[in-house]
Amino acid sequence: MADSLNIEELKRLAPPAELRRAPVVEGKPSLGALTDKLSEFAEGKTPRWWWILFIPAAFAATVIFPTCLFYQVFTGVGVWGNNHPVMWGLDIVNFIWWVGVAHAGTLISALLFLTKQHWRTTIGRMAEAMTVFSVMMAGLYPAIHVGRAWFDWFMFPIPNSNGNWPQFKSPLMWDVFAVNTYLTVSTLFWFMGMIPDFAVFRDRATTRVRKTIFTALAMGWTGSARQWHNYEKAYVVLCGLCTLLVFTVSSIVGLDFCASQIAGWHATIFPLYFVIGAVFCGFGMMLVILVPLRKWCSLEKVITMSHMDKVAKLALVAGLIIDYIYLQEFFIAWYSGDTYERWVFGHRLFGHTYLYLGWTLIGINVCVTQLLWFKKIRSSLAALFIIGVLINIGMWSERFVIVVGSLYQEFLPANWGKYMPTIWDVGLYIGTLGAFFMLYLLFVKFLPMIAIAEVKGVMPEADPHHPLGGAQKGDHQ
């Protein structure tokens, strides 16, 4: 009786089909079934694909990565291709790239939370993990790219008997703060989000080891209303701060460039440019991670096509803003009449040596991105995966073109030179990629990769005012 009434009413209240929000989780599972589903992968047997991915990633992370790192630190930055005038090469390119990858994670989990996008709940955790691991990789580069890495502590305001302090006018100093903050805050955010899910894992634990670990990690979470009360507040605050971080960290990385003198760097657009570029790049990485994982972890009903479609649309939006910035950058270079600016930007596309990278970024970030306008493309997982990979390549090219392309031919032609990475540059990059994917695979396997409590919280069953949440007629207040 009650059901029919409710359904009648719902039908009356429901918006037309085309405006109706797609369900966050398909298949209308019960809360218990949903919990089983979301815990399944972490508790189940480790599948073969995981090992196939993990072993090479772990090899890169534990062999290639330390080898390249120690060789560089013990021998000198000279093992890389960096030179005079291109003092920054892959080290900083990869730094910005990794920072960029990080950004989409924060954007998805924080900004979309504030804007009450329920669909974010199923992919938020994965995005946050991507953020944490890529910020780790990003943070590594500035620390080890310096000539004397063992003196990195000079960059921290530690009182010392030399009476020396860091120099706070330097954008690099700001970077130190920004990257450290980003790493700390995103880790906190990620961890705090996981606390209720640790409790889920704790309560489901079948072995003593798991029980012990997850009891410790859950820190005594009971899910009481009082805990939720404070938790939700803290979550909102953290989301707000993380949203600020999305716009701040890449802006500060952008300040490294726009606060300098170099033609091609000295532009006020850089903070925005880097933020949007970072988000764009991050959505690319998101696609790369989501497409295979949803299949291999059998999460098609949780990470639905509607989710993929939304990520793709966001990537498209970011891509369009990036395209606008490209346009604007080239226009300003031309319009300024500044010889040096014109030369640098002319060379990005019509010069030599690096013009392939210039066209790669135009080809991908401007052209390939437009494919995302098409519903057909957005609903093809293969296409999305390929576009995700391409976006990462495109954004990497953009970073390269910005860093190297502005340095190799600047004011005095006598200084002009070229930059080519060496195997140690590339090796370190492969090492960080390996470390990133290794950490990510470990995360997927051992930690709650989907925010169980959050997803349950946005199910209709969780709404006390919804029939599925047990609401009776007349409960609406």
Binding site: V77, H84, G147, Q167, S260, G417
Partner: protein
């Protein structure tokens, strides 16, 4: 006497100074103890403090900077201070000492003052007391100090390749002397390099008297004696010419690279620069040449013709002038010259200009040109009253040079003094016995029966005569490090003379009173011994030379003296190998220089290895397309391709001596592509200035019309007016600071010779990095000379707008194919830290390692630097240099490789480097003996930088501080602490002091009366990239060219035309 080495304890000294003990009983050693200007070599042994002070090296031991080294018991390791046993008088430990000496060259000598620290020479400067000198040197003199500390130099007396004792070797010389005294020198021959030493001449005479049947050959691979021989032949007396470029109004260079490759160039540069002051009237230089030389780069008009056709042009000019001389008519139609490929107007207008300036004309012929061209030059000089005006003729002793009559079969024992005849002559046969005094165990040493290590000129007594005839003293600053023999001592022993000590020989030659002798040594030269110019008339017939037309199958080869390794003698000198060639900017190599057209015709490109065949001999070398080079000429630098030069110089470049037969210009060569390629390491890849106003130029006419042409409003382009939001705190500091340092670089005076670069390297402990690192753009020179080739923009398909212009697309590798490089002008710009008042580098450093001091210096605290390299990125001038690897500590053998050994895997002296580093962080990856020599060679006033540290020019802050501290110590309790030019207390930077042209002026810009302040008021004064508002303290004085408007190739400076073609607002449209 500062110290008494006989009493020293070498117990904790390194092996080098062991020789002191061994030497203690030698008579010449005792003599050394008692000479006038002693040195404290024994300090090296005795004083731990000074040994530490050798190398102000910063290393990872200071990882806990400010927390002190955590050694045993949380204390630092114990160090010993070992003072003299007997306190020396008049000697203050730690004080700098200066000694006058001279570096002998082939046809003269360079008077020097050498700075010595605790008994070891560390820096060479010119002797400014020497009449006419501005205290400058040439690059060879600057670099020669590194040879002193070369770990590869000959260290042992050797017989048949085995080490023998010094006594045994000297005993052999005695025997030799007795043997030939018995047969009056039958079968004894000497092969020596030319020398201007009166003492050697005296010994040579003694030998000739004592061994009348002996023979003496003087041979130089680079023959600089032709000027003297030509003048002698032309004027019928034994004279040598002195060219007074400062007195000339019009100079015609007939393939004479007097500013670059010729001997005595530093004097020429000084005089030439003195005659080229835009405000005070300037001389005009016509250059006719084949190679693109520094002289050509400085020329107002340059005609590129094959070197073998210079005679025709000289002949044409002299004919025109004779015609004028005989008929009194101005040059008419009859005087047109008809030389294929040469604009006849060029020749005739040049001749007219010469005539118009008669009496103030100087025609010089290059030393590689045949005698006939020299005679023609003297003909013209005589016709135009130059003799006695612009050309001085100084009486001199005739010297026979060459190898005529050198017969191996007739020689029983050949004594080789210096040189490297096996390499220079590619000799294979050898006389029965060869005794050699040599500085290296080189190619020649391999073929000698006896080898005696020679002493460096800084280790030996000698004397020399400068190009103007003044006698100068060569006195040692340090006891021979490896017990080498001075040349005079060696000769005296061969002659069986007594005394054998070089000191006494020189003293004997000098004669005079003890007072005069002391003065001679103090000043470094004997005043008033300069030759007086004589007025002589030309009296020789000029034989004609048959000129050969060159073509692709009949190429002309020009062998030239390399601007770095000379004839090969500096091949193992890392500074010289790494110094960019002033014209090609090439390091660590020589190449086959060729013009674009010829290269195209022959189908070769840069880096292609070709085989050059000449007179049945051949050699392989890489091609390098040289802008401005004459077609169908090949330029081959001598002195490379050494097989036994040492670890630095071995197998660098190719050996052009293989096809060299004594003539510097030869025709009939062919080249063949071998299909192999070779990578050449240049420090500057881009040739064009792309129309950017870095170097600003104008013709004299324009300058007179608009003196302020070079100002910020350069050719109508206004700099943006930007007001800073905040006051510069430096402006506040200026109010109380004692000085404000600044510098001007006169581009009009600079010829780009590179002396400053070497001087800076020597002063500031700048390491060499090796070819591989240069290829990666990591050379460490704090000061570099930017050389741009400019060309008529109409010949360039170029535009700065956003167009798909061909030029923009072009890689630096493809510049060699562009047509515009055929006829170019070259401009040089010394580029060093500009000491910007609003320095972009400083604000980006996260650790405040580079900041401004109150006197306007952009200072760099190396020990604070962590190496983010951001400062270099943000420096628009790119004058900061980064230690990508531990260049000081890397072994010499790794200069050429690409694999970097790391402390993780490398062993030195049998011990893992990591372990060595743990025990002593100062240790390098170099063996201890090599490392010790390197420490000796460093300037203790400048921190030696480790890897991972950015470094840069600071206007020689160590010199500034030294001057300030001296002044303050002198001032004591008074306020007389300010340095002033009037009092002569302003220090000179190393580059300034070394510059022969006086192009660099440094001083206190807050003193309105200082010369630098006055120069900054010059209308020519401008800032490079001034529109970036960096407010550089180093400013440049624009270059003024003085072309002849009547000439067919009269035009605005190409750089100006290029700028205007790129500029958005064309000239006159502002």
């Amino acid at each position: 006497m500062n110290s008494n080495p006989t009493n020293s304890t070498p117990a904790n000294g390194r092996r080098y100074w062991r020789s002191l003990d061994e030497l203690a009983d030698q008579p010449e050693f005792k003599d050394w103890l008692h000479r006038e200007f002693p040195v404290g070599a024994s300090e090296l042994v005795e004083d731990g403090q000074s040994r530490r002070n050798f190398l102000k090296i910063m290393s990872a031991s200071f990882a806990f900077a400010g927390i002190a080294t955590l050694g045993a018991g949380c204390r630092r390791p114990e160090e010993k201070l070992e003072p003299f046993g007997k306190q020396p008088e008049n000697y203050t430990f730690g004080d700098v000492q200066y000694f006058a000496t001279a570096m002998p060259t082939r046809i003269g000598a360079i008077p020097l003052v050498v700075k010595s620290y605790e008994g070891r020479p560390v820096k060479i400067e010119g002797n400014s007391l020497y009449p006419g000198s501005n205290g400058s040197t040439d690059r060879y003199a600057q670099a020669s100090i590194l040879d002193l500390y070369d770990p590869d130099r000959a260290r042992h007396f050797k017989h048949d390749g085995k080490v023998v004792s010094r006594e045994e070797a000297l005993g052999f010389l005695d025997e030799l002397s007795k043997k030939f005294a018995a047969n009056s020198g039958e079968g004894l021959a000497f092969l020596a390099e030319s020398s201007t030493s009166p003492s050697r001449a005296r010994l040579q005479k003694i030998i000739a008297d004592k061994f009348p049947k002996s023979k003496w050959f003087t041979y130089d691979a680079i023959d600089s004696g032709i000027h003297q021989r030509a003048a002698t032949q032309a004027f019928g007396q034994s004279v040598k010419p002195v060219f007074n470029f400062d007195k000339a109004k019009v100079i015609l260079s007939l393939d004479c690279d007097f500013l670059g490759g010729e001997d005595d160039s530093h004097n020429h540069i000084r005089k030439f620069a003195a005659g080229r002051k835009a405000e005070q009237g300037m001389s005009r230089l016509y250059a006719v040449e084949s190679l693109f030389t520094l002289t050509g780069a400085s020329a107002d008009h340059r005609l590129r013709v094959p070197a073998s056709r210079i005679f025709e042009i000289a002949k044409a000019i002299s004919t025109m002038l004779s015609h004028l001389h005989e008929t009194g008519n101005p040059l008419g139609q009859s005087a047109q010259c008809n030389i294929e490929g040469v604009d006849s107007n060029w020749v005739s207008e040049c001749a007219k200009d010469l005539v118009a300036n008669a009496g103030k004309v100087l025609v010089v012929a290059g030393q590689r040109q045949p005698l006939e061209v020299h005679l023609l030059a003297h003909t013209i000089n005589s016709l135009l009253d130059s003799i006695g005006n612009t050309v001085g003729l100084i009486p001199t002793n005739a010297v026979a040079t060459g190898l005529e009559g050198f017969d191996l079969d007739a020689i029983d024992t050949l004594v080789v003094l210096g040189g490297n005849p096996v390499y220079h002559l590619t000799a294979t046969a050898k006389p029965k016995n060869v005794v050699r005094l040599g500085y290296y165990e080189d190619e020649t040493a391999q073929k000698c029966d006896w080898n005696f290590p020679a002493a460096h000129y800084l280790e030996s007594w000698s004397d020399a005569t400068t190009s103007d005839g003044t006698v100068v003293a060569v006195q040692p600053l340090i006891q021979p490090l490896f017990g080498g023999l001075p040349e005079l001592e060696f000769l005296a022993r061969v002659a069986g003379e007594s005394p054998t000590s070089a000191h006494e020989i020189v003293r004997g030659t000098f004669g005079g009173s003890e007072e005069d002798w002391k003065k001679f040594l103090f000043n470094g030269f004997a005043n008033g011994t300069a030759g007086k110019s004589e007025t002589l008339s030309f009296q020789a017939a000029v034989p004609a030379v048959q000129s050969v037309a060159t073509s692709g199958s009949n190429l002309e080869v020009i062998f030239y003296r390399d601007s770095k390794v000379d004839d090969g003698r500096y091949a193992n000198n890392g500074w010289m190998q790494e110094l960019p060639d002033p014209v090609t900017k090439m390091t660590w190599d020589n190449a086959v220089l060729i013009s674009r057209k010829t290269a195209r015709e022959l189908g070769v490109a840069n880096g292609d290895i070709v085989e050059i065949s000449l007179n049945g001999k051949s050699v392989k070398g890489p091609i390098w397309t040289q802008p401005g080079m004459a077609d169908y000429s090949l330029g081959l630098a001598l002195g490379y391709g050494r097989e036994r030069a040492g670890r630095v110089g071995n197998s660098v470049g190719f050996n052009a001596y293989k096809i060299f037969s004594g003539k510097y210009i030869e025709n009939g060569a062919t080249i063949k592509k071998t299909g192999e390629t070779h990578v050449l390491a240049c420090t500057q890849h881009h040739w064009s200035m792309e129309g950017r106003p870095a170097v600003r130029e104008a013709n004299l006419e324009e300058f007179l019309k608009e003196p302020e042409f070079a100002q910020e409003k350069f050719h109508g382009v206004e700099p943006p007016v930007v007001q800073s939001l905040y006051a510069n705190p430096l402006d506040e500091a200026k109010k109380t600071a004692l000085h404000q340092w600044g510098m001007t670089v006169d581009l009009n005076a600079c010829v780009g010779c590179g002396t400053c670069v070497v001087a800076c390297q020597s002063e500031n402990n700048i390491p060499i990095v090796g070819k591989d690192q240069v290829l990666r753009g990591r050379e460490m020179h704090w000061m570099r000379i930017d050389r741009y080739f400019t060309s008529d923009p109409k010949r360039k398909n170029n535009s700065s707008r956003f167009s798909l212009s061909a030029d923009m697309n072009q890689t630096d590798e493809n510049q060699q194919f562009a047509e515009w490089i055929d006829d170019v002008q070259a401009v040089n710009q010394p580029m060093l830290c500009q000491q910007c008042e609003s320095a972009p580098c400083e604000s980006v450093c996260p650790v405040a390692a580079t900041v401004h001091d109150q006197e306007g210096l952009n200072v760099m605290a190396y020990n604070r630097c962590i190496g983010t390299r951001y400062c270099s990125n943000n420096c628009p001038y790119k004058v900061r240099r980064f230690n990508f690897l531990d260049y000081n500590k890397r072994p010499l053998t790794e200069l050429k490789g690409t694999i970097y050994s790391t402390t993780l895997t490398h062993k030195t002296d049998g011990v893992w480097d990591l372990l060595r580093w743990w025990k002593n962080p100062d240790s390098g990856m170099r063996s201890e003996d090599e490392w010790d020599l390197i420490k000796l060679s460093k300037n203790p006033d400048v921190t030696v930088r480790m890897r991972g540290v950015m470094e840069k020019c600071t206007y020689c802050t160590q010199r500034i501080e030294h001057a300030k501290i001296s002044q303050k110590a002198k001032a004591g309790a008074s306020d007389n602490v300010r340095l002033s030019e009037a009092a002569g207390t302003i220090p000179k930077t190393a580059c300034q002091q070394a510059c022969p042209a006086g192009a660099i002026v440094f001083g206190d810009v807050s003193d309105a009366n200082s010369s630098v302040s006055k120069l900054k008021l010059s209308p020519l004064n401008y800032s490079v990239l001034g529109n970036l508002l960096t407010k550089p303290r180093t400013t440049y004085l624009a270059r003024v060219r003085n072309p002849n408007p009547a000439m067919p190739d009269y035009h605005d400076p190409f750089s100006t035309e290029e700028f205007e073609s790129q500029s958005l607002t064309p000239k006159g449209n502002s």
